[in-house]
């Protein structure tokens, strides 16, 4: 038997995707990919289609044209819940935790899946509480009573309960205090160390450049630039061009 060849197809591949909201043509042929274990940044001004790209990958909107592939298999028309079970975690821009459910119940929405033993569930919970001690404190509180930063922690922890192979992070540091921002930075590192790939959409350029291996820059619904993160500095004219006010 030949030894396992290193899988060469990307974990997630987006190929020439065109997505519409009603009649509005939002994504004009977006193509990008994320390899296993990679941290990839997606930069761009507000409204260029970054969130829509994440939603398309997550199956929350379906493209009119183009394909989305997960580990080589097409997932373009699959519903979101199947993708979550395949291993895609989603942390949306407005967090969207279940406000009337407790912290514990929020986490359980990701834990209660087929084939997960009670022991494993406990392990995952312990892990969440270790990384986010504040959640342990507030485990029986309703999600809606948490502060913005705590809700962000919960949203990420909740996605982690799915044991995903990739997490889609949509502007996780938006509206957070600097202390929380560095906490998010640490979480990204932790996830990376565990082998979870990350697609990071952010307005915070320094954070993104620091945390990512590669970055894509989007403008007007398409990818305009793509390079390793190390090739870009914060004051690069390209950054000014695509993200400057």
């Amino acid at each position: 038997m030949t030894p396992d060849a290193t899988p060469i197809e990307p974990l997630v591949a987006v190929e020439d995707v065109h997505t519409y909201y009603g009649k509005s043509h939002i994504l004009h042929g977006v193509s990008l990919h994320i390899d296993r274990g990679e941290v990839v940044g997606l930069l761009g001004r507000n409204g260029v289609g970054k969130s829509t790209t994440l939603k398309t990958i997550m199956g929350l909107v379906h493209p009119h044209r183009g394909k989305v592939l997960f580990a080589g298999k097409p997932i373009t028309s699959l519903p979101a819940h199947k993708l979550a079970r395949l291993g895609i975690g989603y942390v949306p821009e407005d967090r969207r935790i279940f406000r009337l459910l407790t912290v514990m119940e929020n986490l359980r929405t990701g834990l209660d899946r087929h084939g997960v033993t009670e022991a494993r569930k406990q392990e995952l919970l312990e892990k969440a509480f270790t990384y986010f001690p504040v959640l342990a404190e507030r485990r029986n509180q309703a999600g809606g009573t948490l502060s913005g930063g705590e809700q962000q922690m919960l949203a990420i922890a909740r996605a982690m309960m799915l044991e995903p192979k990739i997490i889609l992070l949509d502007e996780p540091t938006e509206g957070l205090m600097p202390r929380m921002v560095s906490q998010i930075r640490q979480i990204i590192d932790v996830l990376h160390r565990e082998g979870v790939a990350i697609l990071l959409v952010e307005q915070n350029v320094p954070l993104t450049l620091e945390a990512s291996h590669r970055v894509y820059i989007m403008e007007k619904g398409a990818v305009r630039h793509h390079c390793p993160a190390s090739a870009l500095k914060v004051d690069d004219p390209l950054i000014q061009q695509y993200l400057g006010v």
């Binding site: 997550m58 819940h81 979550a84 949306p92 969207r96 279940f98 406000r99 359980r108 929405t109």
Partner: protein
């Protein structure tokens, strides 16, 4: 002084007591029906016009099972299960395709279903009312009046069913799924919850609850094809008065309205007592449109 005494003596205490009990019993049945209705609305924004017909079908299934086996309890169980399945089938065939469309379409579709079901029942069972015999008779004495045990059973069982369901929602795994889907359908899907199956399950549960009410209530009235209508209208009133999607509110509203109607029937005919619920509705809509038992929205 003597007028006050006269007034106090004129209060029909015995009647009031009986009507209080009646009100609670009817209120619990109504609560059971309305719970299903408000649940279905809360989770999928569907106004289920056919809910009264599910109630009616449940009663008829009860009739059929009892005449086949003679067991009231078996009838209750089977009717609930069968109608729950029918509900699931209806949801899958007619309501799923309408997901995401104008809410008007679900009102129309369920209205169409109610017409079909009513006439089907008329066709199969004829216009003559059937009877479900009470599982046991006998009355108990409270002070100096007699009250049938069976009615007490109805209230207790309805409360039990609602209670079990509430516990399931709060603590069960799938209860969390239902609550998450109710709050944020999209995010629930993103967490791996199969939203369309949750919808089907909820519709089936609502249908089952309606069917159980039908069997429980059967012995008190005749079972006929049109029995669903009155109940569905009252149930809608209850749901609006209690706050749409608010389970606790529906239960409170059910008992409140039923008590008022029972008291009213001491003085006026039952048909006219029905106006009470309409009046409550109008007052609620005028002054507290989000629901009487809902804390005032900020």
């Amino acid at each position: 002084m003597s007028t006050v005494l006269g007034f106090v003596q004129a209060i029909p205490y015995q009647e009031l007591l009986i009507q209080t009990l009646n009100g609670i019993v009817t209120g619990m049945i109504l609560a059971l029906i309305a719970s299903g209705l408000t649940l279905i609305f809360g989770i999928m924004d569907v106004v289920n016009f056919a809910h009264g017909e599910l109630f009616m079908f449940g009663a008829y299934m009860g009739v059929v099972v009892i005449s086949a086996t003679g067991s009231f309890w078996l009838a209750l169980l089977l009717a609930t299960l069968i109608v729950a399945l029918i509900g699931a089938a209806l949801q899958i065939t007619t309501l799923r395709p309408l997901l995401g469309r104008d809410p008007l379409t679900t009102i129309l579709a369920t209205f169409g279903i109610s017409l079909v079901m009513q006439n089907y029942a008329l066709w199969q069972f004829g216009p003559v009312a059937r009877k479900i015999p009470e599982p046991f008779s006998g009355q108990f004495t409270l002070f100096y009046l007699e009250y049938p045990w069976y009615r007490v059973l109805i209230a207790v069982l309805s409360a039990a069913i609602i209670g079990v369901f509430y516990l399931f929602l709060k603590y069960g795994t799938y209860g969390i799924w239902i609550r998450a889907t109710t709050q944020d359908r999209v995010m629930a899907g993103a967490m791996g919850i199969p939203v369309s199956w949750v919808h089907t399950a909820v519709f089936a549960i609502g249908a089952g609850m309606a069917a159980a009410s039908g069997v429980l209530f059967g012995p008190l009235v005749g079972v006929n094809h049109a029995m669903g209508l009155d109940w569905v209208l009252k149930a809608f009133i209850v749901v609006v008065v209690g706050g749409m999607g608010n389970l606790g509110g529906s239960i409170a509203a059910s008992i409140f309205i039923s008590l008022l109607e029972s008291y009213a029937s001491i003085w006026v005919s039952p048909a006219q007592a029905g106006i009470v619920s309409f009046v409550v509705l109008i007052l609620t809509l005028l002054f507290r449109p989000t629901g009487l038992f809902v804390p005032t929205p900020k």
